[in-house]
Amino acid sequence: MEWIADGRAKRQFEAFVAGETERLFRTAYLMTGDAADAEDLVQEAFVRIARRWHRVRSMKRPAAYARRALVNLALDGARRRSKLRAELDAPEGGAEHADETAARALREVDDLAEFRWALAQVPPGQRAVLVLRYWEDLAVAEVAEILGCSAGTVKSAASRGTARLASILAGDGWPARESVTSATQKGVTP
């Protein structure tokens, strides 16, 4: 177990926390759909990083390590690895919406709280793929490495997740307004 003992490393870590909080919080929020859960996740990720800070700070991209820790924590909380893989590997069949239909549904999103709510309805593994691919803008190979699956699995999970998202946005369910109001009151603006 390592601890941050010297002052310089401690200051570096504090600067890292200050610099990464916002980005990690947003990712965590997109992963969980809840501000309190997002805060917990970010905090747990920082705790994990602090324990390994002497190694993490010498990495080329400490932020990438932080993102990976956060995503793994989010998925650990959602399901065990084996279940996650089963979900990612599930056969096609949910992709009933063609790409053009999905693109139209995304273009018509004008209420971003609705989009975030719809995203939270997508199964966790597929949601993680979507967040990593299209919010974090990671390559398929990087997403596959983080999630411990093949590139093909990432691609098909992205396809199914997008279809699911589009289906929800197209009208399969938008909750009572009070749910959205509750989300916005937790620090999220539309």
Partner: protein
């Protein structure tokens, strides 16, 4: 597989959705000021400065019943309070010195004659506290409130400002503990955020109830609730 056009659309929508997420100021402060690098098991200095907890809501400094007696704490991370045994998770060991300042700050205030609970008849006995710490700096403290018999129409003495949560099958209230510590020269110094108290209502004999207070430092709310749930079910 997804076309490039659709991927572009996804990136744009995610960028807009992510940009609209703001970190609440209180959360930002908690995340920045949390102590991520504690020194394990060397917390004597905390007691040496004469720590007190300050209930920010009332502005009243209240002394803590920080029990140092580890004799009643069994080895193997089992903590015994009255007739209750609470099992800590692996990696937690009884703390000879209290590792927590804020736990149960409501209780001493209430026991010493707080307002709004007349008729419940709480005895003025300081509750005992037991604590356990993990090698990575987590700290959990436990305290039992005096037993009382709820009366119709009387307020729950602890239901002020807490967030209702379920811990296993138990109803509980979660508090973000606002606390301060008396430093050298008697000056009150605000404690960092990230100290939580969980008040779990547990039944006792004769229709009475009491609260098992489980406080934590260097743990997230979720970790505290998980520890409480597993400890209560064991």
């Amino acid at each position: 597989m997804i076309t490039e056009d659709l991927e572009d659309e996804l990136r744009q929508t995610f960028a807009r959705a992510g940009a609209g997420i703001e970190v609440p100021e209180a959360a930002r402060m908690r995340l920045r000021e949390r102590n991520y690098h504690p020194r394990p098991m060397h917390r004597g200095a905390v007691g040496a400065v004469g720590a007190v907890a300050l209930a920010a809501a009332t502005g009243i400094a209240v002394p803590l019943a920080l029990g140092g007696g580890s004799a009643a704490v069994a080895s193997g991370a089992k903590i015994r309070l009255d007739s209750y045994t609470f099992t800590m998770p692996a990696g937690y060991h009884p703390a000879r010195r209290p590792c927590l300042l804020g736990i149960g700050i409501h209780i001493p205030h209430i026991v010493s004659g707080g307002k709004g609970i007349s008729g419940i008849g709480l005895p003025k006995v300081p509750p005992q506290m037991r604590a356990a710490a993990s090698t990575d700096g987590g700290c959990v403290g436990l305290m039992l409130s005096p037993a009382y018999r709820p009366k119709p129409g009387s307020p729950d003495p602890y239901a002020i400002g807490g967030s209702p949560v379920l811990v296993g099958g138990h109803k509980a209230l979660l508090y973000d503990v606002p606390a301060a510590q008396r430093g050298p020269g008697g000056k009150l110094v605000p404690l960092r955020p990230g100290i939580f108290d969980l008040f779990v209502l547990v039944p006792t004999r004769g229709g009475k109830v009491r609260d098992l207070v489980i406080g934590s430092d260097n743990l997230t709310k979720r970790q505290l609730i998980a520890i409480a749930a597993s400890g209560l079910s064991s």
